[in-house]
């Protein structure tokens, strides 16, 4: 079963991540799984629809370098989801077992990792952004 926040409100609001394909957090089975890459890209490509790029290509239309960068970007998102699940587990442990130094430090460690994962997702987005054509 997927990790959940102990707070129903926080869990409910994190459902927004599902819009972008969060969970099940698995990478497509290799480059040949074109349908899965296409679907994951469809969910994430609004991240690139800036004022000067109103049309973002579908996965099949990406140039080879952009396609590779898109795979890396999608991979970062999936990794961020995995790290978020660890945060949820650490958070749940604090709510269940009580606040204690080791549990607080464990939470800080996994939260730092999630933070790094999210920033890596952003860096992958910036790399990919340079490879996508502008439409204006």
């Amino acid at each position: 079963m997927a990790a959940r926040f102990p707070d129903p409100l926080v869990e409910q609001r994190h459902a927004v991540l599902a819009r972008y394909g969060a969970e099940p957090a698995t990478l497509p089975a290799g480059e040949a799984d074109e349908a899965r890459w296409t679907e994951l890209w469809r969910l994430l490509k609004p991240d690139f629809a800036t004022a000067d790029r109103t049309q973002v290509p579908d996965f099949a239309s990406l140039a080879p370098a952009a396609r590779e960068a898109a795979r890396a970007y999608i991979g970062c998102r999936i990794e961020a989801d995995r790290l978020l699940a660890r945060c949820k587990e650490a958070h749940s442990r604090l709510a269940r077992d009580g606040i204690a130094t080791d549990a607080v430090e464990h939470y800080a460690t996994v939260r730092d990792a999630y933070e790094d994962g999210v920033m890596a997702f952003g860096a992958a987005r910036e790399r990919l952004d340079t490879l996508l054509p502008k439409t204006k």
């Binding site: 926080v10 927004v16 972008y20 004022a51 130094t101 607080v104 999210v118 997702f121």
Partner: protein, 273 residues
């Protein structure tokens, strides 16, 4: 300034005031994290959603740091976490010290779009960074050390606000910039009111002198406000927005941790037999 470290005996009055401030910080960090989570509904793109989620996790972490110190001082902090989880929208003020600004009824009306979320971090968060920054030099050393850690992380929140605001304009163009400029004053009122009423004059806070005397607050509201204005002006300039002048502070939002003059006494757990 007399300082105290872990294990030192604390004078009763000092401990009461210390725990009042610590409980406001910890409870409000957690409640603030819940409010930030609510704002995920406005995230327009994946990266925005993940970065806001990261912020939620950080706010919770700050609460845990401070609650952990309060536990060492004998406070039953688990009851506070349980209350906030069970009643996120309206936690019992007898159990937790949540600042008014983080009560849902006061928070939610300030937000109707992602640009509000971006601007809150750009315009109000600098007030938190300046305010909490003073606790790094307070007289209770374990709390000072935790706030060094928190302060470092709060700087990441400043970066989030500027990043998110710039992205709004990148996607929405000049029409978005104008829309955001019109929203700046409502957040500046909150930011300016963050520090509480002035330290002198008829409207002065009744409690400030005691906090200051004990070294629990080390800067006067006027100093913090000046520090805030310097930061927020630089941040708005970075985004390409102007800082409005002659904005009146909103003290009633009490986003600052003083939150009025009443001092509560967090429940102390009975000593173990």
């Amino acid at each position: 300034m007399k300082t105290y470290d872990k294990g030192d005996a604390l004078p009763d009055d000092y401990k009461k005031l210390l725990l009042n401030l610590m409980s406001f910080q910890a409870d409000s960090e957690y409640g603030g994290g819940q409010r930030v989570a609510e704002n995920m509904q406005y995230a327009p793109r994946p990266e925005e959603a993940y970065r806001l989620s990261k912020k939620v996790m950080e706010e919770f972490g700050h609460a845990y740091y401070v609650w952990n110190l309060m536990a060492e001082l004998g406070v039953d902090v688990n009851v506070r976490l349980r209350e906030l989880i069970a009643h996120p929208e309206n936690p019992d003020p007898k159990v937790v010290n949540l600042i008014n600004g983080f009560r849902r009824e006061n928070w939610a009306p300030n937000f109707d779009s992602w640009q509000d979320v971006a601007l809150f971090s750009t315009v109000v968060t600098p007030a938190a960074v300046a305010f909490l920054g003073q606790y790094q030099n307070c007289s209770y050393l374990p709390w000072a050390r935790v706030n060094v850690r928190i302060h470092k992380e709060e700087h990441g929140h400043l970066a989030f606000g500027v990043w998110a605001s710039k992205r709004c304009i990148e996607f929405g163009g000049e029409a978005m910039r104008a829309d955001m400029q019109a929203r700046v004053p409502k957040f500046m009122r909150i930011g300016l009111g963050f520090y509480g009423r002035p330290s002198a004059g008829a409207a002065k806070s009744q409690m400030f002198d005691k906090y200051y005397e004990y070294g629990l607050k080390v800067k006067k509201p006027e100093e913090l406000q000046a520090e805030y204005l310097e930061i927020v002006e630089a941040r708005l300039k970075e985004v390409g927005l102007e800082m409005p002048r002659d904005i009146e502070p909103d003290y009633d939002m009490r986003v600052g941790y003083e939150a009025g003059d009443e001092v509560s006494s967090p429940a102390i757990k009975p000593a173990a037999a």
